[in-house]
């Protein structure tokens, strides 16, 4: 940059003292540009984002999506985001919700509860989201629920910690999928009967793992079995061998609950120690989400897994399921994305798709126009029946009125030749019978 000298502004004394006010040097230019750019950027972006708060009753319906796009749950969050976006695209192609276009705004929780809370406020207060399809990270969703409730906004969790629709649930918190209570009810009796009566649970040291331990222990002990002390692994652990060596020798069923890199570490290190030779390996879908058994080179072979939505389409073989897979772009055997190596977090990500359609059904049934009509949506969601359809490809289900929990079909599968082969199906009616209502959120005030 060249600077034209202006006699009215610069003197030799100024030059000697380095006075920036006297003449625009490179430094002062950059300082000014920096400050000016920051101010202009602030004004521009802030204006563009906050104007959505002015959405009118007849304008677009803004739905927020609270997703783990980065951080520990990013491999799942990618699919939650993709499924939610695909659902909104389809809904808009079908004419929107009650004739109104749906505008989807997604914020990244960074797989961090504190950031997630900030981003939730951003979705609701900055972007004007009327409803939020929320996090699959148990810590994030549990931190989000009090804020969503305070801001009087319906929040769908998709993580499994049962507290979200239990002791920390509110009139505004819903979950169409299963929680640890439901998964224990669906899978533990079958595993107890078919795999063994002495259990050890190994899981990450955070809400999801603790919640699984608590719920499974209750079921196994009620059936007359024994559950050893749990083994909780720090979330940042890389080497699981020190934890695997703590597993008691008399264990008949090793119930593991991990995700992402910890899952890979668990399966490969457990296999190398030959644990599957002395005990039966049992898990929930989260442990194999976004992972193809083939990529584990046989380490997951023989593991029993409770699925919420069978990865192999042939086990829920209908047009809705296949159309759904086509819409989100995955194959019908391994759940792999077309043109990439990514594997769908299929047992959880369907909730972002279905929650959009659940909201559509509730909004249209209640005649919702603006936020002041939220009570109608909440009442419509409580006890809502969802038929097996393209909007609900996981299958017919009920959003139970009292605890706002999804009552769905579950599947117990086994990894055989790198495929998840379903061994038995637990029908939603049986699941409902095995998980009596413990909390009634429907009596809380809106």
């Amino acid at each position: 940059m060249t600077t034209e000298r202006r006699p009215d502004r610069a003197t030799s004394a100024d030059v000697a003292t380095g006075s920036d006010a006297a003449h625009p040097s490179r430094r002062s230019f950059l300082q000014t540009a920096l400050a000016g750019g920051a101010l202009a950027g602030t004004a521009y972006v802030a204006l563009g984002r906050d104007m959505s708060a002015f959405a009118q009753a007849g304008g677009p319906i803004v739905i927020g999506q609270h997703c783990e796009l980065t951080g520990g749950f990013a491999s799942w969050g990618y699919w939650h985001n993709k499924c939610g976006a695909a659902a909104v695209k389809l809904i808009n192609e079908m004419g929107g919700i009650a004739g109104r276009k749906v505008e989807l705004v997604t914020e990244d929780t960074e797989s961090n509860p504190a950031t997630g809370t900030r981003k939730l406020r951003s979705l609701i207060q900055r972007n004007g989201a009327s409803f939020v399809v929320g996090s699959v990270h148990s810590g994030v969703m549990l931190a989000a629920i009090p804020v969503a409730t305070e801001l009087k906004t319906v929040y769908f969790s998709s993580g499994e910690a049962t507290e979200a629709t239990g002791e920390k649930g509110t009139r505004y918190s819903f979950r169409t999928g299963t929680d640890t209570y439901g998964l224990a009810a669906a899978g533990a009796p079958w595993a107890f009967k078919n795999l063994g009566k002495r259990w050890t649970i190994i899981s990450p040291d955070y809400a999801w793992g603790h919640s699984h331990y608590k719920e499974h222990k209750a079921v196994v002990e009620k059936l007359g079995g024994h559950v050893n002390d749990p083994i909780f692994v720090p979330l940042d652990a890389k080497d699981l061998v020190p934890y695997l060596t703590k597993i008691p020798q008399d264990t008949e069923v090793l119930f593991s609950v991990f995700f992402g890199a910890l899952s890979v570490a668990f399966y490969t290190q457990a296999k190398s120690m030959g644990l599957e030779k002395t005990m039966r390996m049992y898990s929930v879908s989260g442990t194999i989400e976004a992972i193809a058994p083939a990529d584990l080179k046989g380490a997951a072979e023989g593991v029993y897994i409770v699925e919420n939505f069978p990865r192999m389409a042939k086990y829920k073989d209908d047009g809705f399921h296949r159309d759904y897979l086509k819409a989100i772009g995955t194959d019908d055997v391994h759940g792999r994305e077309t043109g990439s190596e990514r594997v769908n977090a299929k047992s959880h990500s369907w909730q972002n798709w279905e929650n959009m359609f659940a909201l559509k059904q509730a909004i249209e049934a209640s005649g919702w126009k603006t936020k002041k009509d939220d009570k109608g949506v909440i009442e419509a969601l409580e006890g809502m029946q969802m038929a097996n359809a393209l909007g609900h490809p996981q299958g017919a289900k009920t959003l139970r009125k009292e605890d706002h929990s999804g009552i769905i079909d579950c599947y117990i599968s086994r990894v055989e030749n790198d495929e998840l082969q379903v061994k038995t199906k637990v029908a939603k009616e049986d699941l409902a019978a095995m998980m009596p209502v413990r909390f009634d959120l429907s009596k809380q005030a809106v």
């Binding site: 951003s122 900055r126 009090p146 955070y206």
Partner: protein, 350 residues
């Protein structure tokens, strides 16, 4: 113009800042920027953590990467008081501040015996020890998941209850506490104690020779900074209705160091401006780019390169140029407690 004029301009700027902060919750929502009231609240809270770094580094010459420890103690003190004792805002704030102050007294008794990088390292070590202890003590702290709670009452008397769920109550409670902290800090750094801080920072041997108890002076500064960080942590817990051990890790302290340096160390309000710049920048960029931390880092590097005395240094420079006689070299207004160039360059002040 003279130094007196500079002082008047400074006071005018402060009054303007005060008026703007008072107007925030009324004006921004009217303009459709209601969400930004939260961001301003967050800036106020985090700026106290940066101010605690500034009190140690800018005024006493001790660079601490352990302020997150006291932030965490403040956070948990407040949260546990709300959860277990059903404490309101003020009781919780007191509990958090006391917890942080007590921890700072214990850690400081050992840490301030050291200076330079040894001091920085021991503050990181303290932070890590308690971070891992908090993460593993899940029953008490909630570990990585943290603990969440509903908005407590700010005012509960004669059948009238106002909670933090009321946006105005939340904003003015935070603003009031933060303003009080800055006011106290302003009094302290201009008091004889503040002069002792500056003396220790500039040359601790000379300070000792003139009768200043260097150890005690550093310890007092450390405990005061710990208390400030604790207030910040308690306020942040109330703001987020949440506490997590993840806030006790040293990178949270690192962020506060960056905010303080960008704002201008050794200046009372520098940390507030540094925090404001970087949080607003983060908030804007993160909505359009998930890897926004690259941009935040880039901005920080630019500010440090082209405004090494921080935003407060820019302000002082501008003020100096405005008020200095035309023929005289432009210098910042004299400030007896502002760090010398040497002290800024070398933690420990030598």
């Amino acid at each position: 113009m003279s130094g007196g004029a500079a002082a008047w301009i400074g006071r005018g700027g402060l009054a303007l800042l005060g008026a703007a902060l008072l107007a925030v919750p009324f004006v921004l929502p009217e303009l459709g920027y209601g969400f930004w009231v939260n961001i301003v609240t967050e800036i106020l809270i985090w700026s106290l953590l940066a101010a605690s770094v500034n009190l140690l580094f800018g005024y006493v010459g001790l660079l601490s990467f352990g302020q997150a420890l006291f932030f965490g103690f403040g956070m948990y003190g407040a949260t546990l008081a709300v959860i277990h004792w059903e404490a309101g805002f003020w009781t919780g704030l007191l509990a958090g501040t006391l917890a942080a102050t007590a921890m700072a007294a214990v850690a400081g008794a050992l840490a301030v015996r050291l200076t330079w990088h040894y001091f920085a390292i021991i503050t990181v070590v303290f932070s890590l020890i308690f971070y891992f202890a908090a993460m593993s003590n899940k029953t008490l702290t909630g570990g990585d998941d943290g603990l969440s709670f509903s908005a407590p009452a700010v005012f509960d008397m004669a059948g009238v209850t106002v909670t933090l769920a009321d946006p105005l109550a939340q904003y003015f409670s935070v603003l009031g506490v933060v303003a009080a902290c800055y006011a106290i800090m302003g009094v302290v750094v201009r008091s004889p104690l503040g002069l002792a801080f500056a003396a220790v920072r500039e040359n601790d041997r000379r300070a000792r020779l003139i009768g200043i108890d260097v150890y005690r002076t550093r310890l007092v500064a450390f405990v005061l900074a710990g208390a400030l960080a604790g207030v910040s942590g308690a306020l942040f817990a109330f703001f987020g209705r949440y506490a997590s051990a993840s806030y006790m890790v040293y990178h949270v302290s690192g962020e506060a160091v960056v905010w303080a340096i960008v704002g201008g160390i050794g200046t009372l309000l520098g940390p507030l401006f540094g925090t404001a710049l970087l949080i607003v920048f983060r908030e804007l960029v993160s909505t359009v780019w998930e890897n926004y931390l690259f941009a935040v880092g880039g901005l920080t590097v630019l500010v440090v390169m082209f405004a090494p005395l921080g935003l407060a240094g820019l302000w002082r420079g501008a003020l100096g140029r405005l008020t200095a006689p035309r023929a005289a070299p432009a210098e910042a207004p004299a400030d007896p407690v502002a760090p010398s160039a040497d002290a800024r360059a070398v933690p420990g002040g030598r």
